[in-house]
């Protein structure tokens, strides 16, 4: 059961000649089996926090612990391998490779995971497509899918290596109401299945699904709102 702890996290970056403080002394913990929502205005630092938890960026100061192991000082290879095994990303714009078919997009993370043989990879893709109810879209290109279907493919890709943590950056930002609901229900189901799901969202609907809600304001994280 994964446990993530962010300790005294500070993040500064340069925007033109100005120094922006995106995170200011953030302290927070995330546990398996729960869905966390981080809400806040644009530019409040919520995506910065998410991508730092996902080891896609480096903190200016502070530490991130995965199961009590400090992972913020790992090198690129170690961070990459941790991302591969433990973290699944879902993006607002889906970020599917437009020139790869649905099944090929889902296969992509499995190529660097030694635990999958060629046969197991195929089996896993089939199972994920069935689970997300897009089994008949395997050989389609992303441009042939609706927004909701594309996001489900992106979720399948995020789940390909069976990660413990799912990080979703505005997963319903480009979707209509009906698809929003479908995606949030999938994320809820994943958390009930034991995964730690962290969602950054503007969408007020998230409150219905989240176990804990945090608000980011000017780089500072509020206490649990609910």
């Amino acid at each position: 059961m994964v446990k993530i702890r962010v300790e005294n996290a500070w993040k500064e970056y340069k925007k033109k000649s100005e120094i922006v403080q995106a995170l200011k002394n953030v302290n927070v913990e995330f546990e398996a089996g729960k869905i966390y929502a981080i809400i806040g205005r644009s530019g409040s630092g919520k995506s910065t926090l998410l991508y730092n938890i996902g080891l896609m960026d480096t903190l200016t100061k502070g530490s991130i612990y995965f199961n009590e192991k400090n992972v913020s000082q790992l090198n690129d290879k170690e961070k990459s391998r941790l991302r591969m095994k433990e973290i699944g990303f879902i993006f607002q714009g889906f970020n599917l490779n437009k020139n790869l078919k649905v099944n090929e997009n889902i296969l992509l993370p499995m190529f660097i995971n030694e635990k999958y043989t060629k046969e197991k990879r195929k089996e896993k893709v089939r199972a994920l497509l069935e689970m997300l109810d897009i089994g008949d879209k395997a050989n389609r290109f992303p441009r042939e899918l609706s927004g909701g279907e594309e996001q489900r493919v992106a979720i399948a890709r995020a789940l390909a290596n069976e990660p413990e943590v799912i990080l979703a950056d505005e997963p319903t930002g480009n979707l209509d109401e009906e698809n929003e609901k479908i995606i949030f229900e999938i994320l809820k189901k994943l958390s009930l299945g034991g995964k730690c799901v962290i969602v950054v969202s503007h969408n007020p609907e998230i409150k219905e699904y989240a176990d804990k809600i945090f608000e980011m304001n000017n780089g500072e994280l509020s206490k649990n709102l609910y």
Binding site: T48, M56, D57, S80, R81
Partner: protein, 271 residues
């Protein structure tokens, strides 16, 4: 690891557009390089094979000047590249009439020696003058080919650089996803580099084929200037220099890509 990314790369229409542009530019570059190289060899062959072209004549118009050219001959002997200065009597006119035959070590130095003698106030006749017209037109074609070759080399390099920058921009989101799903910077770099290497090798092979297919036409054009056997040269000589040039480009692009890919990280506009 590479298969799917390369497959996606070759499913893009823009890849083929870039490929067509690079093939044309590389083909012209290879053809002009070969013309330049072949004419250079051809001129050398023409001149090397005729030793008498290396010998020039210094003579006096009248007896009064005879003494002056005796002095000049001594000076000419000291000029760099002059191999021999030999006195030759013109028996059929008179024992008193003679000239000097100035031989240089290599036909390439004829112009230099002529210039030195000219500065002394004398004129050396003969040498490669007889071949001048033919050689001049060959040299003109060679210079033109050199210019086009240089221009095309610069153009090809710029196109390849723009292509790589474009590729990086185009695949920024894809590379970010690769990083998010666990690929290291090094693995992403390898994927990009393999794509570019395959791209450039395909472009190089196809442009070489175009250069070979066009050889008979160029052969006919050069034949009009008295330059023969270009086609045989193209078929019998696998010129390594264009390949070395392409390899150098790939190497440079590899370094640029490496530096760029190490910068990949999530940069949020929305935070």
């Amino acid at each position: 690891m590479y298969q799917k990314s390369i497959q996606a790369f070759f499913r893009k229409k823009t890849t083929y557009l870039h490929l067509a542009i690079i093939i044309i530019a590389l083909a012209i570059s290879i053809i002009t390089f070969c013309i330049k190289d072949y004419i250079g060899n051809w001129i050398e062959l023409q001149m090397e094979g005729k030793d008498y072209l290396k010998t020039m004549v210094l003579n006096a118009m009248n007896e009064e000047k005879q003494k002056q050219i005796d002095e000049a001959a001594k000076e000419i002997e000291k000029i760099k590249y002059v191999e021999e200065v030999r006195k030759k009597y013109l028996n059929n006119i008179s024992e008193e009439h003679y000239m000097y035959l100035v031989t240089v070590d290599n036909w390439k130095h004829i112009d230099y020696v002529k210039k030195q003698v000219d500065d002394m106030g004398y004129i050396l006749g003969g040498g490669k003058d007889a071949f001048e017209i033919q050689i001049n037109s060959a040299q003109y074609i060679q210079k033109f080919a050199s210019f086009v070759n240089l221009f095309l080399n610069i153009l090809t390099t710029i196109i390849l650089l723009l292509f790589s920058i474009n590729l990086l921009k185009d695949e920024k989101a894809d590379n970010m996803v690769l990083k998010a799903i666990g690929y290291t910077n090094g693995e992403i770099w390898k994927i990009m580099l393999v794509k570019i290497i395959i791209f450039v090798i395909i472009a190089y092979i196809l442009s070489q084929m175009i250069a070979l297919l066009l050889a008979p036409i160029i052969d006919t054009l050069l034949f009009n200037y008295g330059i023969e056997n270009y086609k045989d040269y193209m078929l019998n000589n696998w010129n390594i220099k264009p390949f070395a040039y392409v390899s150098l480009i790939i190497f440079t692009l590899g370094i640029i890509l490496y530096l760029q890919i190490n910068k990949i990280k999530y940069i949020s506009d929305r935070t």
